[in-house]
Structure formats: C-alpha cells, structure tokens
C-alpha cells in the first residue's frame, strides 16, 4: 500500500487585511501518495503560493486538516524542501556557500554534493560568484540546487522555472524528473504553464481564484519520458485547458513553449 504522504482536508485560509478579509483558500481537499508528482496550475492570485506555504509549515494560521506523513504540521522540517517563486539567495554568500547554507563546506561529503549539484544545474565556474553577478535564471538554479542538497522527502516548488529561458527550462524539467525517479521524492509543483503541468505531473490540480479553490484534478496517464509533440499529450493538454475555459476571467498562460 502506497502511504499517503500528504493529506489536505477542508483547508480554509483567510487573510485579514485593512480592507477586509480575503479568502485565499476555500475548502481545499487533496491527497498525495508517497512518491507522486503533482502539478498545481491556476491563474495568478488563486492561492497556490499560500497552499504551498501552509504545507511547508511556514504559515500555521489556517483552518482544516493538513497531515504530512500522517502527522499534523508544526513548522518547517528537514523532510520538506521548498523552492520559492524568487531565488531568495543570501546576497553576502557566494554561489557554493548559498547552496550549502547552514551546512559547512569544509565537510567533505557536503563539498562533494555541492559540486555535484553545481554541475547538475550547469553553474560550473560560478562557484565563487556573488548573487549580484548572476542572471535571474542562474540565481534560480542556485536556489534549486540549494533545495536539492538536503534530499527532502517532499519537495514543494513554487513556479521554480518561471524565470528560465525555454532551453534551460526544459533541461531543468528533465533534471527534476530524473531526481524524482531516482529519489522517489514526492513533488508538489506549482506552475502557470500548461505544457509544464502536463509534461511533469502524474496528476494536474486545477485551481480557480476568488476564492481560491480546486476546480478539478486530472490524471495524466502518459508514460515518462513524455513527448510534447505527441497526439496523446496534446489531447490531455486540451482537456486541462478546457477546464479553464469553463470559467470567465483571465486564464492561465497557454504558453507558446514548444
């Protein structure tokens, strides 16, 4: 029996703002199995980041049930990795020290892993650079390497590839799939890119705004590695897109990514 890694049940989240309460999440329900790859797609402001932060344990003010490994969350923990929407690097640390963060590079095993990860995200030669010397996409790759260093059981990714160009993006997607398949990491991957959602996810969670809720969850029954040009891929992509067209308002980035 595959264990439920993550259970979200009747989750509500309201932000109190000076101009009144904002319902960010409304009755969210989601069950994720150990080792599953879930993509979450939805227009801006539908509460994707809010949901991830709650699962990460960064935000503990919510109503409802959120269980990770069967236990209610009480703050961040080592088994949960997070890649933020922005790189969020420490500006005073070099690339390699940013990846190591609070681990010491003087430990040989940390040193070795950091070097491997730098190669993985293709940043060799920039180990000693400061964040200000990096492009936005390079900085985001550092952030990705930093999250991977701790080999989390569950990786929460908030539009991690949004700042990358098409080529780097598809390379990073493949890297992520490799890591997922070899480490059996449970992935919760937020994106606003239709292709990306269908290319990566075993299931696509479609969210809608005002108030943020789950519209539907579509399984993507395609074997990996997936071919974007394939007929079945395009059909599923249309199916996801149709879910959006049922609602008015700005839909997601349909994307011209090939």
């Amino acid at each position: 029996m595959a264990a439920e890694m993550l259970v979200v049940h009747e989750l509500n989240k309201t932000f109190a703002t000076p101009s009144g309460d904002v319902i960010a999440l409304n009755r969210i329900g989601l069950q994720v199995k150990q080792g599953e790859f879930i993509t979450i797609i939805g227009p801006s402001g539908c509460g994707k980041s809010t949901l991830l932060k709650i699962v990460a344990g960064l935000d503990t003010k919510y109503e409802g049930t959120v269980l990770v490994n069967g236990k209610p969350i009480d703050g961040p923990s080592i088994e949960k990795g997070f890649i933020f929407q922005e790189p969020r690097l420490f500006p005073w640390l070099t690339v390699e020290k940013n990846i190591a963060a609070n681990l010491s590079l003087r430990k040989p095993e940390v040193r070795k892993r950091v070097d491997e990860l730098i190669a993985l995200v293709r940043l060799q030669g920039f180990e000693r650079s400061y964040p200000r010397e990096l492009s936005g996409g390079m900085a985001q790759r550092v952030a990705i390497a930093r999250a991977l260093l701790r080999s989390p059981d569950i990786l929460l990714l908030d539009e991690p590839f949004g700042a990358l160009d098409a080529f780097t993006r598809s390379h990073m997607q493949e890297v992520l799939l490799d890591i997922w398949q070899s480490n059996k990491t449970t992935m919760l991957f937020v994106t606003h890119d239709l292709d990306e959602a269908v290319f990566l996810g075993e299931r696509v969670v479609i969210m809608n705004p005002r108030p943020g809720h789950i519209r539907s969850i579509l399984p993507i029954d395609l074997p990996y590695p997936r071919k974007r040009a394939g007929h079945a891929f395009q059909e599923l992509r249309h199916k996801v897109l149709n879910e959006f067209e049922k609602v008015e308002g700005p839909a997601v980035d349909e994307g011209a990514h090939i």
């Binding site: 990460a56 703050g75 923990s77 922005e86 969020r88 420490f90 609070n102 400061y130």
Partner: protein
C-alpha cells in the same frame, strides 16, 4: 589590421585624456591641497597677510617639528587618542550590544528603546554642564561624554539594520531550520552589517567632535587643550597644527572603517557612480 585599430585606439585615448592621466591615480586627491598650500605660501611670503591670522605653511611645519622634538606632541596626541579611543570603544560596544538586544528581542525593544529614542534627541552639548557637576572634569567624565556621543549612532543603526532584514530570507532560514544562533550569525548580522558599519563611521565622527569639546572644557593636556592654549597666546601656527592633527586622525580612522566596508560588503550591489 587589428594591431592598427588597437594602436589607433590607444592614441585616441592619450589624446582624449588630459594632463590628469600623467599623474599617478592615487595622487589625484592631492592636487587641490598642494595647489592651495603653494599659493598660500607665496601669498604669505609677500607679507600681505598678518602672521597671527594666517601663518605661512612653512611656519606651521616648523612649529609642528618643534612640538615633535620637544615631546609635547607625543604627550598631547597620546592622551587625546586614549580618550577618543576609550570613549569610542565604550560607546560603540554598548551601542552594538543594546542595538542587538533591542533588534532581536521584543522585551528590550519595548522597555528600553522608547527611553533611548527620547534621550537621543537631546543635544549632547546641553548635558555637558550636568556632566561637569556630576563627574567633574576628570578623565572619567571626558571618556563618558565621548562614549555617550559614540553610543547613539551605533545603537540606532544596529537596531535599524536588524529590523530591515528581508522577511523573505528569514523564511528561507526557517525552511532550512536554522537554529536561533545560526539565524543571528548567518542571517541577521550579515544583513545588518551595512547599517552597523555606517553607525560605526558616524560614531567615529561624534567621538572626534566630543573629544575637542571635552578637551576644551578644562584639562592640561590633549590636542584640544593645545589648540585652546595656543589661541590664548596667539600662537596661531600651533592652532593650525592641532586642526591638521584632527583632520589627519579623523581621516585615518574613517579610512579604516571604509576598508572594513570594502572587505566585508564586497557582495553589495550598489550604484558606484
């Protein structure tokens, strides 16, 4: 072809740049002072200026050498540096300590900060009479006055620096489960460092200022006293020597902190002009 274009480029550069490029770069800052001194010396030599109002540079140098030779300079300088240094260390370390506690802990912030913020607005020179009444005009009183002047810039800026730590980076530190100690040493202090160093530079300036004030309120040694004493006997060149000593040591200490800034804040991405 390429050689030609290179040589043309360098030729254009030489023609485009002026006489400034023939003087080594580190000396650029000295051009204006040297010119002023030369003109000053010439004008003094013509006898247009009264020597008691504006003595010639040469006589200032002469009296500087005489002061050095007699050992007076060493005596005045050492006592001044001792006062300024001791007061500065006292003020900045206390400012750093309290600034850190107010920045990191709600308790100190709520109880101590309001009073300190109020005291900060009191002009320091107005409390000098109180200092003299309470502590006399001895060394203790002087060091305390300088310490008080050095305290506030470091306190305020340390506190401010800590509170301007990026909340987004704080979230990162929570995700990686930094211990509280790691949060302080690896996140908050590095983030506050630009402000802390700015505070240190400001308090250096305050220390020199208050040193002069303290040495003029009654003492028998120190550069400030030397200036005061020379004025009484109309020895204007010694007044100049004293002022120049303040300028030199003020600049030296400021450069030391600036050096730390370039070392420690290399990561900063700021407008460089």
């Amino acid at each position: 072809m390429s050689g030609q274009s290179v040589s043309r480029e360098t030729a254009g550069k030489a023609a485009g740049s002026d006489w400034l490029s023939r003087i080594p770069r580190p000396l650029h800052g000295w051009i204006v002072p040297v010119l002023v001194v030369v003109v000053w010396q010439i004008v003094s030599g013509l006898g247009i200026l009264s020597a008691t109002l504006l003595p010639a540079p040469a006589s200032i140098v002469k009296s500087f050498l005489a002061l050095c030779a007699s050992g007076e300079m060493a005596e005045h300088l050492s006592i001044s540096i001792y006062r300024a240094g001791f007061g500065f260390l006292l003020g900045t370390s206390l400012g750093l300590l309290l600034g850190l506690s107010a920045g990191l802990g709600k308790l100190v912030e709520k109880t101590l900060d309001p009073s300190l913020q109020m005291l900060r607005t009191v002009p320091l020179l107005s409390v000098i009479p109180l200092f003299i009444l309470w502590f006399g005009i001895g060394e203790f009183s002087k060091v305390l006055l300088i310490g008080l002047g050095a305290f506030f810039p470091v306190y305020v800026n340390t506190y401010l620096g800590i509170r301007s730590t990026d909340a987004k980076l704080y979230e990162v530190s929570r995700i990686f489960q930094y211990t509280r100690l790691q949060q302080v040493t690896k996140l908050i202090i590095p983030a506050a460092l630009p402000n802390i160093l700015l505070g240190v530079r400001l308090s250096l300036g305050a220390s020199w200022l208050l040193l002069v004030v303290a040495e003029m309120m009654g003492t028998s040694a120190g550069i400030g006293y030397m200036i005061q004493d020379a004025r009484a006997y109309s020895e204007t060149e010694i007044v100049f020597v004293g002022i120049i000593m303040f300028a030199v040591f003020g600049k030296l200490s400021d450069s030391a902190v600036k050096l730390l800034e370039t070392r420690w804040l290399r990561w900063r991405d700021t407008y460089k002009g």
